[in-house]
Symmetry: C2
Subunit: 203 residues, 2 copies
DNA sequence: TTCGAATGTAGGCGGTGCCAACAATGCTGT
DNA sequence: ACAGCATTGTTGGCACCGCCTACATTCGAA
């Protein structure tokens, strides 16, 4: 059995899985110390490679951040799709989805911020765009379904999805910013959805 | 009349108003190149002082960012208070406020991000907290007023304010992230507010 | 088996934030 | 008026960063 991490001798010249190791380390650092503490050189050190090695897998620091965002979208997409139960009645269905989103956004606040960072405007890797589509798709499906059943007012489904998503994202943002305790955000999910569906005005 | 910016000779030893100059320059850079391009040394260069001079006014880069956020809150607070007309009926009043918020968030996207950055948890200067209170106060007042008149359902006004603010912030966030064109966000204000007040369900 | 492509290494460049020692200036009390 | 102190600015240095280039090793396909 080889020794643990610091193995300067027996370590093979090629790491074998540097890219994944870097991404994993980056996500860990991101979670623990925030995006500001992310350093390619430090990641290289943790992975036991030279400071320039990461450059072989990510042309840029931004490229690594983009890859990280992609991982985030994947995970969020899974979470949302896993939480969606088309058999549920509208309000319950939406609540479940909302709870999943808020849970993710609380557990992965820094990662989420990365995903929303509008740095990919110049190139905007299509992979990323596709990931976004998949994510909002989960929500849009619920809205569209409900609309067909007449459970939701008419109108461009994308428009309605936007407002719904905005409310969720806003709450997530407040929770991340400390304006709202994370538990309060999660516990309030049901109420938030209710308000969204029924409005603020008395009926 | 002394020469313009690069005046290495006649410039007095003391700048006279470095703090303001730095803040102004920082905001300019923030708007034009983003927070990532902010550098104390560069700011010092632009102000025509040595690279360590900013340290006399901001102990930290973070301290400058906090001061910048404070400026932002001030300006946002003014904008909101200026846009609020208590004489208006609820929906119009709320729409005006929402439009002001969205306009600010579009014109000052980077600054707004700074304001929401949860970096001030450790110390959380009370000045900043007060500024936040003032800002949300504008919204809370509208909600509370409407509640008293029975135009809005009962419930903790802070709770309702939260949801309202979240929706706005979410839309602003989408606009900043490029998911929604700025004009679309502004033009849709009326509809957003209407949806918020009347809900997604048919009446 | 050989040779090019992938991957990792070593070192250097300009830039950054922060710190300490020092210099010029402004202000305040006598 | 001016001595002395606090404020503000300067110089230089440290450690770190991202990125680049030249070089080394290994892998894989022709």
């Amino acid at each position: 059995m080889p020794a643990s991490r610091p193995t300067p001798e027996s370590r093979p010249y090629h790491h074998g899985d540097l890219r994944s190791t870097l991404l994993a380390g980056a996500e860990r650092t991101l979670r623990e110390k925030g995006v500001g503490a992310l350093s390619l050189r430090e990641l290289a050190r943790e992975a036991g490679v030279s400071h320039a090695a990461p450059g072989r897998h990510f042309k840029d620091k931004q490229a690594l951040l983009n890859a990280l965002a992609l991982v985030g979208y994947d995970r969020l997409g899974q979470a949302l799709e896993g939480a969606d139960d088309p058999a549920l009645p509208l309000e319950k269905r939406l609540t479940a989805l909302a709870r999943a989103y808020l849970a993710f956004s609380i557990d992965n606040a820094e990662l989420l911020e990365l995903m929303y960072a509008r740095k990919h405007e110049p190139d905007a890797s299509e992979q990323l765009a596709a990931a976004v589509d998949r994510t909002v798709g989960s929500l849009e499906r619920v809205i569209a379904d409900a609309q067909e059943r007449g459970e939701i007012i008419a109108g461009d489904p994308q428009h309605l999805t936007l407002v719904t998503g905005a409310t969720l994202q806003g709450i997530a943002s407040f929770a991340a910013g400390g304006m709202l305790a994370p538990e309060a955000a999660l516990d309030g999910t049901e109420e938030f959805v209710h308000l969204l569906l029924h409005g603020l005005k008395p009926r």
